[in-house]
């Protein structure tokens, strides 16, 4: 259990949020020009990092807005929270 600082609402319990998986996966501009391998990479393959991970979250039981988060998945420590479209505050 951890507390998440929603960029729109402030600190709330994690149970109000829904995890949306790895962030910054860019949808290919021309899916029809991709090989099956490239499409599978986009659709299914994940870094699934143990350590600092960039991910998407949704404040499902709150403002219902999506945002990004940097979290250490080995101890659930949140490093940063930032809005969609913003540059990640850490590398």
């Amino acid at each position: 259990m951890f507390v998440i600082n929603c960029p729109f609402c402030g600190e709330r319990e994690q149970s109000e949020f829904k995890a949306g998986g790895e962030a910054h996966i860019v949808r290919p501009k021309q899916p029809t020009e991709l090989s099956d391998d490239e499409w599978a990479e986009y659709l299914f393959m994940r870094k699934n990092i143990k350590g600092v991970q960039f991910e998407r979250w949704n404040h499902a039981h709150g403002c219902r807005k999506w945002f990004n988060m940097v979290r250490d998945t080995s101890n659930d420590e949140i490093k940063a929270v930032y809005k969609m479209g913003e540059k990640p505050p850490i590398e």
Partner: protein, 401 residues
């Protein structure tokens, strides 16, 4: 190239509902092919409500048309595993405390009833002797369940597989370890794999905390940490590692002599030989290797447990922990070669890999020894995420996620 596949199953459903010969699914398959599709999908259901055997035969005989026939593959592996379980204590000469006390899965709403009936049929078609029970039969089989119909999660019925049950997981690991050791396998304890050495598309060995091991074949069975090892080889897997929690109570006298699961409310319970209740919860939805899950998941599970078993209301929990489960998008495991020669993965078992251990082990060994999958695990290759031949069998595999 993008290929087009069309599901023509419901052409048959419509025909069957009309009780006529029209529309004709075989003709539909031909139309679809003529229009440029590469494959058709048909679902040979156990109740034959859609396509029947005659249609399937005809459609499969259409030249140059790929047919995606939906039938289940997971149960075969699990059934092999069950056969091995039955003789495992004898074979290993080690008591793995395998206890075939039956496993019951409860239905709490109409969709559950449909799903569980379907699973029973899928099981039986695969030669697995499951039965469906109504509410009274559930109560008779496990009297402590609250079957009143005015509760939040009323019991509408359930499935029962009498040969299923429990085993002590430590004992299984110890028994297998001793058996393997006797056969000449070197087991190096407290030795972490830190890197995989590659030469182009071939593996050369592994870096460990105790030094380098040279080898041309590596079988990875690292469950929650599979992606971590894959990353060492520069590979990505279609996995997400999530917390899954369990709790164990103080020991009490025998009160429940079976395993009762409820996927809808994410709770299961059984009693260990020491008398402790063993309670399992569901997974959290976020990736985490922290080995602790969130409190509200446990709370939700216990809410459901207490309503279903009011007799447990004053039980105290002694231990609670979270493990890491590696989940595939189609909820089926991967037992497969990879794009790197000599590197094999057995992973993606998620919340349900214990029961399949012996079967999955045998098939993985076969895959590594022959550098080719056994026909039973051929469908569980990593390439299915490229080809699109997903093994989407939440029902047949009876997994909770």
């Amino acid at each position: 190239m993008i290929r087009l596949g069309v599901n023509i199953d419901h052409v048959a459903t419509l025909r069957n509902a009309r009780g006529e010969l029209h529309p004709n699914p075989v003709k539909a398959a031909k139309y679809v092919k003529k229009a440029g599709a590469h494959s058709v999908t048909i679902h040979l259901r156990e109740d034959r409500r859609h396509i029947n055997d005659f249609d399937a035969k005809k459609i499969c005989s259409i030249k140059k048309l790929l047919v995606n026939l939906e039938i289940s593959t997971n149960p075969k592996i699990v059934n092999i595993a069950l056969k091995i379980w039955e003789g495992l204590s004898q074979e290993l000469n080690y008591n793995v405390m395998f206890s075939q006390r039956g496993v019951m899965n409860l239905a709490h709403n109409l969709q559950d009833v449909r799903d569980l009936k379907r699973r029973t049929h899928a099981n039986r078609l695969n030669g697995i002797d499951a039965v469906y029970l109504n509410t009274e039969q559930v109560k008779k089989f496990c009297p402590i369940i609250n079957t009143s119909q005015d509760i939040r999660y009323p019991v509408l019925g359930g499935t029962l597989q009498r040969r299923a049950g429990t085993a002590r997981h430590d004992a299984v690991a110890w028994g297998y370890a001793r058996g393997a050791d006797e056969m000449g396998v070197d087991i190096i304890q407290n030795c972490e794999v830190k890197g995989i050495k590659r030469n182009g598309d071939t593996v050369e060995g592994i870096e460990t905390t105790k030094g380098f091991i040279k080898t041309n074949k590596i079988g990875v069975v690292a469950a929650g940490h599979s992606s971590v090892i894959a990353n060492m080889a520069g590979l990505r897997l279609p996995l997400e590692s999530k917390p899954l929690q369990a709790l164990v109570s103080e020991p009490v006298k025998p009160v429940i002599d079976t395993v009762v699961m409820s996927n809808a409310v994410h709770a299961y319970v059984s009693q260990s030989d020491k008398g402790e209740l063993v309670i399992g919860a569901g997974t959290d939805d976020y990736i985490s290797y922290s080995q602790k899950g969130s409190h509200d998941i446990v709370e939700g599970t216990l809410n459901a447990i207490l309503e279903l078993y009011p007799i447990f209301s004053r039980m105290r929990m002694l231990r609670q922990w979270g493990g890491i489960v590696d989940i595939c998008p189609d909820a089926s495991p991967i037992i497969s070669k990879t794009s790197i020669k000599g590197l094999y993965f057995n992973c993606g078992w998620g919340t349900g890999g214990f029961k399949a251990t012996p079967g999955s082990g045998d098939l993985f060994a076969h895959t590594i020894a022959n550098d080719e999958p056994h026909k039973l695990n051929a469908a569980f290759n990593i390439n299915r995420f490229v080809s699109g031949d997903l093994v989407d069998e939440h029902g047949a595999a009876a997994v909770a996620h």
